[in-house]
Symmetry: C2
Subunit: 385 residues, 2 copies
């Protein structure tokens, strides 16, 4: 029992007592495990890291109860919900901001309706930087509340998400802001590849056989491939794990392309699935996804909303991991992949759980920070006031 010697009473409260002494305290410095551990393979110069919040170094869980339930004795969960804004988007945000802090850029922009926007708003706040987020006018008020709570400036674009991306990228070019848009900044992939390095190290410098990953725009999966490729380039391993990408049945452009089958309209409706985080009609780097999945001997699978909800419940109930539906897609994809003989239950399998939803302290957003715009001029005017 450690070195317990007995107990005393403190105002009605039982205090255990130990055989005290300096030798009882942990020795050495506590370890710090963050993605900056891999900085020789990241595009940042020497010198201290300026980003003020630890990012990455998320747990690789052995999930004993889930292993038993699924009959998968070598299953692991890479739990990216343990990042500061509860998703893997924090990695990309941190690297883009680190670069900006070193170059003296004071504003970061992105278009997003979900976790990337929240990660950008919170990450910029931590770094004392300004975040300018572009969203569609149909973005949910509770999402806006999270963004404005962190002090972000939000611009709503009536023409929808694609127009929001265009305006965000134009603003970055015109005003010299950091561009964190998915697929636009190679740093987002550089940051996310560190997940591959971590998994390899956490398995004792060994690779899994297969890794299963939710796919929306594509950078998360493509970045994993890049990380594993670089382990080969470094001479640290000779093969790469298979990557299996997962999309929602109602919005599965890359699964249909993978199968080389025609796509019905009901399979291309981003608003028809609960997996909003991966519901992307025209994936920003879809071609790269297909190429790396093919190269790695992997596959693309689609899953129903029911399977996603069931995966959310199973992750919570058998692994104690809280995930949003898109974040739990890897588990739903595992079951589909086993059904289709794409995976053998006794392989070493890693599920990437990408995110969970967090709540804003309040339900409403700060209207003084949210403006409907059509042009860059309007953006500039709104920010000047």
């Amino acid at each position: 029992m450690g070195s317990v010697t007995g107990s005393v009473d403190l105002a009605g409260c039982e205090w255990l007592q130990y055989d005290y002494g300096a030798a009882r305290m942990a020795r050495g410095r506590p370890g710090l495990f963050t993605m900056w551990r891999y900085r020789e393979l990241l595009p940042i110069p020497d010198g201290p890291v300026r980003y003020p919040v630890p990012i990455g170094g998320t747990p690789l869980l052995h999930a004993p109860a889930l292993r038993q339930t699924l009959g998968t004795p070598y299953l692991w969960i890479k739990d990216e919900t343990r990042n500061p804004s509860a998703s893997n988007k924090d990695r990309a945000t941190a690297l883009v901001i680190e670069d900006g802090l070193r170059r003296g850029v004071e504003t970061i922009t992105t278009a997003s309706t979900g976790n990337a926007a929240v990660a950008t708003a919170f990450g910029a706040a931590a770094a004392g930087m300004r975040a300018v987020i572009f969203v569609s006018t149909d973005c949910l008020p509770e999402k806006l509340a999270l963004m404005t709570q962190a002090g972000a400036w939000v611009f709503q674009v009536r023409e929808g998400y694609a127009a929001a991306v265009d305006l965000s990228r134009a603003a970055a070019r015109t005003f010299g802001w950091l561009d964190r848009n998915t697929g636009a900044n190679p740093f987002t992939i550089e940051a996310k590849k560190t997940v591959a390095f971590e998994v390899w190290e956490q398995l004792g410098r060994r690779l899994p056989d297969v890794m299963i990953v939710p796919v929306g725009d594509g950078p998360t999966l493509v970045a994993l491939d890049k990380g594993f490729t670089e382990l080969v380039s470094c001479g640290l391993t000779t093969r790469q794990p298979r990557l299996i990408g997962v999309q929602a049945e109602r919005c599965q452009p890359l699964v249909r392309a993978w199968l080389d089958e025609p796509t019905r309209p009901a399979e291309l409706d981003p608003t028809a699935t609960i997996a909003d985080g991966i519901a992307v009609l025209r994936p920003a780097i879809g071609d790269a996804v297909l190429e790396v999945v093919r190269r790695d001997g992997g596959a693309m699978v689609s899953v129903t909303d029911d399977a996603l909800l069931s995966a959310v419940a199973t992750l919570a109930g058998r692994a104690g991991v809280g995930a949003e539906p898109a974040g739990a897609a890897a588990l739903a994809g595992l079951e589909k992949a086993i059904e289709h003989d794409l995976i053998n239950r006794t392989e070493t399998i890693v599920l990437l759980v990408t995110g969970r939803e967090v709540k804003a302290g309040q339900a409403t957003y700060d209207p003084s920070r949210v403006t409907v715009v059509e042009t860059l001029d309007e953006v500039e005017r709104a920010l000047t006031f």
Copy 2:
């Protein structure tokens, strides 16, 4: 720029290239920083830790932008929202369950309406243990959804929270379950004291001058005192930091007792504040709180709901830390304490941010796991089916 040598194109996606080689990879094992680091001062026997999720080792943030805003150059945030269920309750849950896993106990129970219940449900799920939670019938459906999502069994008690505690404790005694009720199990304080050890190590084996802490039932603050006391007992330091406890103005029994002033009914209404996590009418270990605050030269302060909301926004907007109102109480308390000359801005100050709200994947709970009960017999019958 790390060792970047150029870039190549992958299906329209820019891939940076590096001067690859085994020497580019991080060396040594990545550090793992969890509360088990302090196991010689925890009541668990030798042998491997069985609890399957890393707990503790949360960041101590230097929050540069917040320091600047507040004019507090040596301010730190101990960010307990980085625990798996996003609150410091995970520490107590993990230690209680670790003890149960070693003794072969398969059920854990607690009464709670908030973070402790969520931490217990998710922690038990991770460990493959059964969680039985007792709540008042007025517990919010979204909280129930989080508990049942993680597979917990929930019993609603019409007579309210105090009756729920009584029933949970009686069930633990009668059925031999683990009792995780606040103030009932000394292990909850043992687990939470590790926050003091971590802060001391993270400051380079030095103590802060003052630490500010939300206070509901009291264990979080009392446990910090115990941790700092044990550093003295171990001969590692000679003094203790002042502890300042924070309660909500509308429910501040311990602040009134501290000031030795009569309490008006409007100051004792747990339903009248947004800080539900610390709104406790009869704190379980209130006497211990008052004793340790006095001994450490600290104080108790109350804060308004407006101040709590403002603290939530400031933590998000200036530190990138998402907190629920009760979780942000330390920041609101800091401002009050500075006003009242309880703290000097140039002291080394640590704010304990205790939790943030997470969302269930769905808004509704599983009704098959929620039962209204009055007696232990009913509990037993419901669990047999």
